[in-house]
């Protein structure tokens, strides 16, 4: 077996999942969709993390009940090989989209605001191989690297928020929850597309974490950290910009410092901050690519994850290189569909697996 899982401790698992969740919540959202109903993301995003956790905890409970060490075993036990593979694909695809989305945002910002006029491909050539390297080296490397850099994005976020605090205005928070509670709840559920995959990643790598109890702890703790990070970041963004402006903005967190009239030393570090956040995005990308590959390999009973990592990296690279520059109606429609209905593609297979597990367990056809 060459699954390159090794063993990671609770702190590494928390770090990697928290980085992936926070990166998704701050940089991996589609601004056109997220700020459609006004500046309510500082509530809907953290809430979405809780919803994602609530969706994944029953799956974990079923893993416990069926003595499965990871989610792939649960899929195989409940839906069989063919069914399990069918249900696996949306989750793998979501993981790869989650790997690519934050990097797309970073590539766009670097292209527009840091390296003026430099090609997307040149930017991606610099950053993507590092994520591939980490994914190739396996979970231990990803987890330990996440642990090493975990504090830096938080410090950068704190510094960015504090330096731009003088430009915050309360009135920008209105309308608070868009068109009403319905809209607000819709966002909370649909944004789970960003948050379910990183938590699912923990379940996929369950064997390396050393038991379901550790997975649960890692999921809850990382969700709590991501909740705080997303709340602070989105609140700072919402206090800085009107929702109309945000809908057209790629990475508003990067720009919040620009609003303060007074030039400060910290403001000059904006490009440094973006690089630190990029480290988080790259670790998150590596984690998502590895998780997706591992899930695929386990479901197909492959003994080697590296082939899947290579394929997943290629798909993610294609997403990064092609979709980022295509600006046509079809791509726009796909993007919108993912933003609006992406969560359903994840919730339906997970619900199906849960349902099948319960049915089989009650029928006594599942080993306890």
């Amino acid at each position: 077996m060459k699954m390159r899982m090794g063993r990671i401790g609770l702190s590494e698992a928390v770090c990697v999942a928290a980085i992936a969740l926070s990166t998704g919540g701050v940089f991996g959202i589609d601004p056109v969709y997220a700020y459609l109903g006004g500046n309510s993301t500082y509530i809907s995003m953290p809430l979405s993390i809780i919803v994602s956790l609530l969706i994944m905890l029953p799956v974990l409970k079923l893993m416990d009940a069926t003595k499965c060490r990871d989610i792939s075993e649960l899929f195989l036990k409940s839906a069989g090989r063919a069914g399990g593979i069918m249900l696996m694909f949306p989750i793998c695809a979501a993981l790869l989209i989650c790997a690519a989305k934050p990097l797309m945002a970073f590539a766009q910002v670097l292209h527009r605001m840091v390296y003026d006029g430099v090609k997307y491909s040149s930017i991606i050539v610099f950053m993507f191989p590092v994520a591939v390297f980490m994914a190739w080296k396996g979970l231990e490397t990803v987890g330990r690297t996440a642990k090493c850099i975990a504090v830096l994005p938080l410090v950068a976020l704190a510094a960015a928020v504090m330096s731009s605090a003088s430009g915050f205005e309360i009135y920008r928070l209105f309308p608070l929850v868009g068109d009403g509670m319905k809209h607000f709840a819709l966002f909370a559920v649909s944004d789970t597309f960003v948050f379910i995959p990183p938590i699912a990643g923990l379940l996929i790598c369950g064997e390396a974490l050393g038991g379901n109890e550790f997975i649960r702890k890692a999921a809850v703790r990382s969700a709590f950290i991501a909740f705080a990070v997303c709340f602070i970041a989105q609140l700072a963004i919402s206090l800085s910009f009107r929702s109309g402006l945000l809908a057209e903005s790629v990475m508003p967190l990067y720009k919040i410092g620009f609003l303060t009239a007074k030039q400060s030393f910290v403001l000059r570090l904006d490009k440094l901050f973006i690089m630190i956040w990029l480290c988080g995005a790259l670790v998150s990308c590596a984690y998502c690519i590895y998780s997706s590959s591992l899930f695929f390999s386990k479901m197909l009973s492959q003994k080697d994850v590296t082939a899947s990592v290579a394929a997943s990296s290629l798909i993610t690279c294609t997403l990064l290189l092609e979709i980022i520059k295509v600006d046509n109606a079809v791509v726009e429609k796909i993007r919108n569909a993912i933003s609006y209905y992406g969560a359903l593609f994840l919730i339906i297979p997970l619900a199906a697996v849960c349902l099948l597990t319960v049915i089989k367990k009650r029928a006594g056809r599942l080993e306890a």
């Binding site: 060459k2 063993r7 390297f133 980490m134 231990e140 987890g143 330990r144 642990k147 090493c148 490009k271």
Partner: protein, 534 residues
């Protein structure tokens, strides 16, 4: 080459396990010691192939003839084959290497008593008990081993009609005395350092560690060259799997070049491409002992003034022996300064270059105008200037190290002050870049371990080149790549970034200097037997 081939094969071969030695506890609490090194051929057979094949000839004349032929005594005049008769007329031969063995000792305590001996019992064990006045004398039946012992300064006594010989401890070659440390100076703490003498080095360790579980396991290694080395550890404390792994790797050594600490480090490390050292070379007995007490394995190699410690982590490489001799607050300040120095050394030139080339907006107007003013007349591009100055700094450092003491200091002064001033005046370099390179060099010297200093220099150059090519983005990529590489690196099964990543149980802080009272327990990542208290 063989190792590289193995890694390339492992990289491209799907569905094939690449085993790696792991010392951290597995789910069952026992380290899985099925490391990839175990697949390597055991090369000790190259050394052992002769062992047991040659018997000691019964007749002294045969011994003489065979040794004369094997050692080419007509050419090799330093091989002494001395035939003599005892007081009772029995033929004997003592063989030794001139200069390696002590002539006086042989004359006084071997030849003289034997020539005066009039007894009839001439078997080696009887001579050892009744006649020979040397404390360490062992009987040997293998002629090959006897020859090898001769090469090591031992006198071999052959007695006519006996199938065995006596190996007499008569080492007497010239050696350096125990002197002050040259590379790991401390203000407080012991000053003595290892020298090239195998025995002396072991004695220096034994003088510090007084526990009865200290084992000094002597063995030969290194293909046919037979370098003597000692594996030093604490029995019952050092992890057995670690010990086995070290022995396995030593047995895998098959080169015929002389083995020293530097060579052995490279031969037993996991992956040669990563520049950071995976073993610690120290010339300080107190430092070696501190690691042995914690459950590490120490190698003492004949002819090498360094002890090689394994496994190690990044944090142990960044610790100085002096830390322990200072009170916690002072030790903490020194350590923090050291880490900041290392960070400045690695990042500062690259970061500045990235700002100057790609992100000028991050520099204040004052700084930017200073940079522009200082570079006004400098003809080469800023990146070339930075790389050239870093290279010159490295050259000054190398020159200072290689030439004798006082001249070395003079080179440092000439290179640093006069050349720097002249270069700025001649507009070959700008003062700002010069200051950055100097600060980076000073930071590099804060790193206590020489190999780590050199590694930091390589990483610094990689960061500078990255900054030149792609600004902060490329620096980020390189730093993350290096972090990931270090995260995946292991030193004899111990993750290189332990106890931080992965987090292992440790009451001792790894960056700041904790209370000395916390040194009661070995580090968890060492996985010592029963995780026992020190």
């Amino acid at each position: 080459m063989e190792k590289s081939k193995k890694h390339i094969k492992a990289f491209f071969s799907f569905d094939e396990e690449y085993k790696e030695f792991e010392l951290l506890e597995s789910e069952h609490g026992v380290p899985e010691s099925d490391g990839g090194w175990r697949d390597l051929p055991n090369n000790s057979h190259r050394r052992q192939k002769h062992e047991g094949e040659e018997k000691v000839p019964k007749r002294v004349d045969d011994v003489y003839n065979r040794l004369s032929e094997q050692f080419n005594t007509d050419i090799n005049k330093d091989v002494i084959l001395r035939r003599f008769r005892t007081g009772s007329g029995h033929n004997m031969l003592v063989a030794y290497m001139n200069g390696m063995a002590d002539d006086k000792k042989i004359n006084e305590f071997v030849l003289k008593p034997l020539m005066l001996y009039e007894g009839k019992r001439n078997a080696p064990d009887e001579l050892k008990n009744d006649v020979i006045e040397i404390s360490e004398a062992d009987e040997e039946k293998d002629f090959y081993k006897a020859r090898m012992a001769m090469m090591d300064g031992i006198a071999v006594l052959f007695s006519d009609g006996c199938k065995s010989c006596l190996l007499l401890e008569t080492h007497g070659y010239e050696k350096r005395s125990v002197e002050k440390c040259e590379n790991e100076n401390v203000v407080m703490g012991p000053k003595e350092s290892f020298n090239e003498s195998f025995r002396t080095n072991i004695t220096l360790i034994r003088r510090i560690i007084h526990t009865d579980d200290l084992i000094v396991e002597s063995r030969m290694s290194g293909g046919e060259n037979n370098t003597r080395l000692a594996i030093i550890y604490r029995k019952g404390m050092t992890n057995e799997a670690l010990l086995e792994e070290v022995k396995k790797r030593l047995d895998g050594i098959s080169i015929d070049v002389p083995i020293t600490s530097g060579v052995i480090e490279q031969l037993v490390e996991d992956r040669g491409l990563i520049p950071v050292p995976r073993t610690l070379s120290t010339e300080r007995p107190d430092r070696a002992c501190s690691h042995i007490m914690q459950g590490s394995v120490c190698l003492i190699i004949e002819g090498s003034p360094f002890a090689v410690i394994m496994p190690i982590t990044l944090f142990s490489l960044m610790n100085s022996p002096e830390d322990v001799y200072l009170r916690p607050p002072l030790g903490t300040i020194l350590r923090i300064v050291r880490y900041i120095g290392a960070a400045i050394s690695v990042l500062m030139p690259g970061y500045f270059l990235a700002l100057a080339l790609y992100h000028q907006g991050m520099l204040t107007t004052e700084v930017l105008s200073t940079v522009i003013a200082s570079r006004k007349m400098v003809f080469e591009p800023i990146a070339i200037e930075m790389i050239l100055l870093l290279l010159i700094f490295q050259m000054i450092r190398e020159a200072g190290l290689r030439v004798p003491g006082s001249i070395g200091q003079a080179i440092g002064i000439i290179g640093g002050l006069i050349m720097g001033q002249a270069a700025v005046t001649a507009h070959l370099a700008s003062s700002v870049i010069l200051i950055i390179v100097a600060a980076s060099g000073l930071g590099n010297f804060c790193i206590p371990d020489y190999s780590t200093q050199v590694s930091a220099s390589y990483i610094r150059m990689a960061v500078v080149i990255a900054a030149w090519l792609g600004g902060l983005l490329a620096i980020t990529a390189v730093i993350l790549f290096i972090t990931a590489s270090l995260s995946s690196t292991k030193s004899f099964g111990v993750p290189f970034l332990a106890p931080f990543a992965p987090k292992t149980y440790s009451k001792r802080p790894f960056v700041i200097r904790g209370r000395i009272g916390l040194h009661k327990r070995a580090e968890d990542y060492m996985n010592t037997a029963d995780d026992r208290m020190l």
